[in-house]
């Protein structure tokens, strides 16, 4: 079941109403049933795996807590984390590694055949696996006690708003909330509803509209010119943000309506002034997961510089691989890791350079330059992320300087793939309009413009007007041919 469907709206409404009607002691059962129904709606076969990993992890967490000494705790932790990672490996990475090794063996003319498993990646596997692993490590570190209620733990793993594409909620933050009795709160409902609407706006009005163009160009970049490729790269940068942030907003909003608070997963990442800052604003739940469970255990930045850079490289390579079983994701992660390392190496030089050209006197201009440069670095990396293969990405990048023409007719031809007829200009301009609107709203939120924030919070008319405009934008400009969210494939 996808968020952007009538069936989800019916399901969600029914679940919310029932949630506030049933007694608090039975709510975990309702949420669990609803979550399993949501997950199994399209492929009931997936349920077996999530139930199995839930049961195994629940049992192991108790053993970790009960283990007498640190060595035993570590052993139990290693076994269970290993179990979860094995499942992830088999379903997600086995074929990737087997194909890569096979290609290598073929290149050296070795006649070994590595088997290929014909298996579908279960929805949300990467997300709930990381949720479980973070819980196990938190129990090991005594950050939280092992959950004694299997049902509550199962809800933590499978709670439907976050199940398919996050945020990756931490157990100390989410688990206690399931024990608190949630009464219907109008303020939380209004907030949650606004978040959901904004999420649907980002997904249906922006992301799905520009997806048509992006898919056309990325599927065959050699048929198009540099102008097409450049526009597709920019549009994909916004598509992936609106798609993923849209999903997160819907998830956060849906949970808020129930009374639960999810972590913020995006904080206007394209206003970042450096790649380091970008990763504190993009997919925050994942980047903090890697920081807490991989980067810091490796030593973080409290080690010699070379080791520190190696840690960064490892974290970003693993992060890239988490996104998908393809060399493109690995390279994408590697590019970000390399960018961060180079950023740290050159940080003093860049500061002196800016001082030298006198730009540090003009904070706003400096900030704008940094934002634009960071945006373009991220954009280049997204090309690799989006491409089907490394050669495909390279072919796309090589195509960027080709075929440009300095005339208005060329610009018209660049936007043509939106619809292949003369309405393409209108669709392009509409996309630009809504992307600009999104950036303006993000900017207002970023700068916490007092007047607007005051109006939003205190003026009922302004608040309602904004919501009505948002709903109308979705109803009139939404792309309703039900498409899945990009990050649900990870």
């Amino acid at each position: 079941m996808v968020f952007n469907s009538i069936s989800f709206l019916v399901f969600f409404t029914a679940t919310v109403i029932t949630f506030f009607l049933v007694p608090h002691r039975l709510r975990w059962l309702l949420l669990l049933a609803a979550s399993y129904f949501f997950y199994g709606y399209c492929k009931p076969g997936y349920l077996g795996l999530i139930v199995a990993t839930t049961l195994v992890s629940f049992w192991f967490a108790k053993r970790i807590q009960a283990a007498g000494n640190r060595r035993r705790k570590r052993l139990q932790l290693g076994l269970c984390v290993g179990f979860n990672l094995c499942i992830l490996f088999v379903f997600k990475y086995f074929n990737f590694f087997s194909n890569s090794i096979q290609s290598l063996l073929n290149a050296i003319h070795a006649t070994v055949h590595i088997p290929h498993i014909d298996i579908l990646l279960p929805l949300g596997l990467s997300f709930y696996t990381f949720r479980i692993i973070s819980y196990l490590i938190d129990v090991y570190r005594n950050d939280i006690e092992a959950e004694r209620h299997l049902g509550i733990f199962a809800v933590y793993v499978a709670f439907f708003p976050q199940l398919v594409a996050g945020p990756i909620e931490r157990s100390p933050h989410l688990l206690p909330q399931f024990y608190r009795e949630q009464r219907f709160d109008y303020g939380k409902f209004r907030e949650g509803f606004s978040f959901m609407l904004w999420g649907f706006f980002l997904k249906l009005v922006i992301a799905d509209r520009i997806a048509v163009y992006v898919n056309a160009i990325f599927s065959n970049p050699q048929l198009y010119t540099g102008g097409h490729c450049l526009l597709a790269a920019y549009l994909f940068t916004f598509q992936i943000y609106c798609d993923f942030a849209g999903y997160s907003m819907i998830a956060v909003g849906a949970s808020r309506i129930f009374g639960y608070d999810f972590v913020e997963n995006f904080r206007h990442p394209y206003f970042s002034q450096s790649l380091q800052e970008f990763w504190t604003r993009w997919h925050i739940s994942l980047s903090t997961w890697f920081r807490d469970y991989l980067y810091i255990p490796l030593g973080g930045n409290r080690v010699p510089t070379l080791r520190h850079h190696a840690n960064l490289g490892i974290v970003f390579l693993v992060s890239g691989l988490w996104h998908g079983a393809n060399w493109t994701f690995l390279i994408w992660g590697g590019l970000h890791g390399l960018g961060l390392i180079l950023g740290q190496i050159t940080s003093k030089f860049r500061k002196r350079f800016l001082e030298g050209i006198g730009l540090t006197k003009y904070n706003h201009i400096t900030a704008l330059v940094k934002v634009v440069v960071t945006f373009h670095l991220v954009c280049i990396a997204w090309i690799v992320f989006r491409a089907d293969s490394v050669s495909h990405a390279w072919s796309f990048i090589r195509n960027l300087p080709r075929g440009w023409q300095p005339n208005l007719n060329y610009l018209g031809s660049v936007v043509l793939p939106f619809t292949s007829d003369n309405s393409a200009v209108a669709v392009f301009l509409t996309s630009v309009f809504f992307i600009t609107l999104m950036l303006v709203v993000d900017f207002i939120d970023e700068t916490r413009n007092r007047r607007i924030v005051y109006l939003w919070r205190n003026s009922i008319c302004f608040n309602r007007l904004c919501l009505v405009v948002l709903v109308l934008a979705i109803l009139f400009f939404g792309e309703f041919k039900s498409s899945s969210f990009i990050y649900s494939k990870f």
Binding site: N409, G412, D421, N422, L472, F476
Partner: protein
């Protein structure tokens, strides 16, 4: 809780009222946002046109209107919407003939086998959005009655969703559209050609038993067009745009095309088979399996212009 339900109800009420109002306004006035150099609105802005072409994207890419006007010395206008078939042509023709401000000597209607074989459908929602209210009402009834699977979702997509981008951006987008079109056709558009290998691999895109014989609803519309033309004493010419040789030689299409040609001639209508004197084996003349390239449309327009000039004499 009662307060919440009151507020929620009020919000929904206001939303529904605003939504309904906007949909009604759009239904009545969407045609006012159309560009002035293409489509129905462009034609309705003219008063006297010698040749009115009605067709699909094949006609839009098949005719160089400027060149045709120079060759024939007569005025011409092209009304082309993707997927145009007899089913859609019938109400459009009747509307244009009934529009008092427009006087036209001759109607040149595109007739193609694929159009008659396929079930009624609406491929190009611009036809609906650019139509005045009267024609919109007729089209809407037709779609609801005769397009298979035309349900609530399709109705919503047509009435609420389609054409909104044009309305939102019309001051800017119409400027670009009007620059790129001339009297319904393209102005200065360069369309490339197929390579020899791609040309050789072309196949009839319609397949399956449904594609074997004319769709009854399409045939009924064609009959209605013929009857209407006789009733009103219209000068109507049917033109089949040329297709690449591998497609022209497809057995099903060939048989249906011959059948259509015979039918039209027997009923006393002029029929021009565009493939007869066109080099359909030349890959340079075609952009894909159905549309002509820039080189092709020049040649085809010249042939049609010659045909029209001979008729004039």
């Amino acid at each position: 809780m009662r307060n919440f339900f009151t507020k929620a109800f009020g919000f929904i009420l206001i939303l529904v009222a605003v939504f309904a109002g906007l949909v009604a306004l759009k239904y009545h006035f969407s045609d006012r946002f159309s560009p002035g150099t293409s489509g129905i609105q462009g034609l309705l802005g003219e008063q006297k046109i010698d040749y009115v072409f009605i067709g699909s994207s094949l006609s839009r890419q098949g005719y160089d209107i400027d060149f045709l006007q120079k060759k024939t010395g007569a005025s011409a206008y092209l009304v082309a919407y993707n997927g145009m078939s007899p089913f859609l042509m019938e109400p459009l023709l009747k509307f244009l003939v009934g529009y008092e401000k427009l006087r036209s000597k001759t109607f040149i209607l595109e007739i193609r086998a694929q159009g008659v074989l396929a079930a009624p459908s609406l491929e190009d929602t611009r036809l609906f959005c650019e139509s005045p209210v009267g024609l919109k009402n007729q089209l809407f009834q037709l779609f609801a009655n005769d397009i298979p699977g035309f349900g609530w979702q399709q109705m919503y997509e047509l009435v609420v969703l389609s054409g909104n981008e044009k309305i939102l951006t019309f001051p800017v987008s119409n400027y670009f559209i009007e620059r790129a079109s001339y009297r319904g056709g393209y102005a200065n558009k360069e369309t490339g050609s197929l390579g020899p290998e791609e040309f050789g691999n072309l196949r009839n895109p319609l397949s399956g038993s449904q594609a074997m014989k004319p769709n009854p609803r399409q045939l009924a519309s064609l009959e209605a067009i013929l009857r209407f033309s006789k009733e009103k004493g219209l000068d109507v010419i049917f033109v089949a745009p040329p297709l690449p040789k591998p497609i022209e030689e497809d057995a099903v299409l060939k048989l249906n095309k011959q059948h259509l040609g015979s039918l039209l001639r027997e009923r006393g209508f002029a029929y021009l088979d565009g493939a007869e004197r066109f080099d359909t084996a030349n890959h340079l003349y075609f952009a894909d399996s159905a549309h002509l390239s820039t080189a092709g449309h020049r040649v085809f327009t010249e042939q049609v212009a010659e045909f029209l000039s001979m008729r004039q004499r």
